[in-house]
Amino acid sequence: MLRKLLLPAALFLFFAGVMAQTLPSPAPLRVSLLFFENLEQYAENSGGALVLVTNLGRMQCPSGQLLEGLPFLIQMDYAEGRGVQMVAENVESQAGRMENLRMEWDPVKQRWVIRADGGWMENVYAPVYRVVLGTLRYENLRVVLY
């Protein structure tokens, strides 16, 4: 019974953070390998803080990844998502490649934007405020409440 309640409870807590107007405490996100398409990255003011927004048209994580934050831990062996938006304090990666990388001024949104058609990043670490996934396909999802 308790195990059946774990997933809805974790998702409720996670999306409560997503919907919140003010920024929650960032939760560390770690991905060992991330392939992406149509990356867009920019800085913006959100909830009184300057955050880094990363939009990915498509992402694929072929090996284990982890979203860890009190009081939950979400782990998947494989994940594939579309329409991904990640709002983070910063993003770090041990190694990576960006293909057709542009740094350009967006005249509509009046800000500088990094755009890349594709690429990959290894050992990604990001303290995330929120993650929004248009669609998510996963294998071996594990959600643990502390």
């Binding site: 300057l50 910063n90 770090e92 960006m98 057709n100 500088w112």
Partner: protein, 277 residues
């Protein structure tokens, strides 16, 4: 026998009006903007040894060795503006310049007392020299305090890039472009590697940093200015019209670059950090 060409040149020079000879191949307006197909070098102090023969010189080819230049300013008319290159100090073991015959004669007249040492292959030093050239190239250059620019950078609009060291296999400044009322120079490069690279956008500021960033393919950037306190180049040329500045084997120490646009075919990053700043 070596005196005969000198005598020939002296007689030729004496038969020309100095004013006409000084005119060069370019035409200059009152504001100093170069009109025509030539670029200008202004050199505070030039030391060189001429290694071209009289025939080559009369047809506008000046070959020099052991060249040092202080306070060099090169103005290259390109596309919609003029690219300016300022260098505090330059050395090159070998350089070749193509100028008009009139320019050769103008230089000879202005430095008449150095004519014989020049033709005999002795080192000469000139100050406040202006040369209007059609093309030039040089090998193994070493430059101190090099600034290449078309305007002043605007920290509220331009992206700033710095690195401890930047190496580029080949680089070409294609043309000066004007977009949204701002001038920038279109630069294509390949085989670029940067150490301790930092890139910063105007507010809302975003910083990208990496101990090593490399772009093995082509990089296109529209730059407002590029400064480096120390630069070396295996080869550098300014081509005949349309003038393009090309260089190979380029190494810039502590470069500071302001760009309005950046497009990299691929960028490999190690220990990358992206953060608002």
């Amino acid at each position: 026998m070596r005196v005969l060409p000198v005598l020939f040149l002296v007689l030729l020079l004496l038969s020309l009006s100095p004013v006409a000879a000084w005119g060069g191949s370019g035409t200059r307006t009152r504001s100093g903007v170069i009109v025509g197909n030539s670029f200008t070098l202004r050199i505070g102090k030039l030391t060189m040894t001429n290694v071209s023969n009289l025939f080559e010189m009369l047809f506008g080819t000046i070959k020099t060795k052991d060249v040092t230049m202080e306070n060099l300013v090169i103005e290259v008319p390109q596309g919609e503006g003029t690219l300016r290159i300022e260098v505090g100090y330059v050395t090159t073991p070998y350089a070749v310049m193509k100028v008009s015959m009139l320019q050769v004669l103008g230089l000879a007249i202005t430095h008449l007392s150095d004519l014989i040492p020049l033709l005999l292959g002795k080192s000469v030093t000139w100050t406040d020299v202006t040369i209007v050239a059609n093309s030039m190239w040089a090998q193994n250059l070493f430059l101190l305090n090099q600034l290449m620019y078309v305007g002043s950078p605007d920290s509220s609009r331009d992206v700033y890039i710095e690195a401890d060291r930047m190496t580029v296999s080949s680089l070409s400044v294609e043309k000066v472009v004007k977009e949204n009322g701002r001038l920038s120079f279109l630069t294509l490069s390949s085989g670029m590697v940067m150490e301790n690279f930092l890139q910063k956008t105007p507010p809302p500021c975003m910083c990208i940093s990496a101990p090593v960033a490399s772009c093995p393919g082509q990089a296109e950037l529209k730059a407002v200015s590029i400064f480096s306190p120390s630069v070396s180049m295996a080869f550098m040329e300014i081509t005949d019209k349309p003038h393009k500045v090309r260089a190979t084997g380029v190494e810039l120490q502590s470069p500071e670059i302001w760009v309005t646009y950046l497009d990299l075919s691929t960028l490999d990053l190690e220990n990358m950090k992206v953060r608002p700043c």
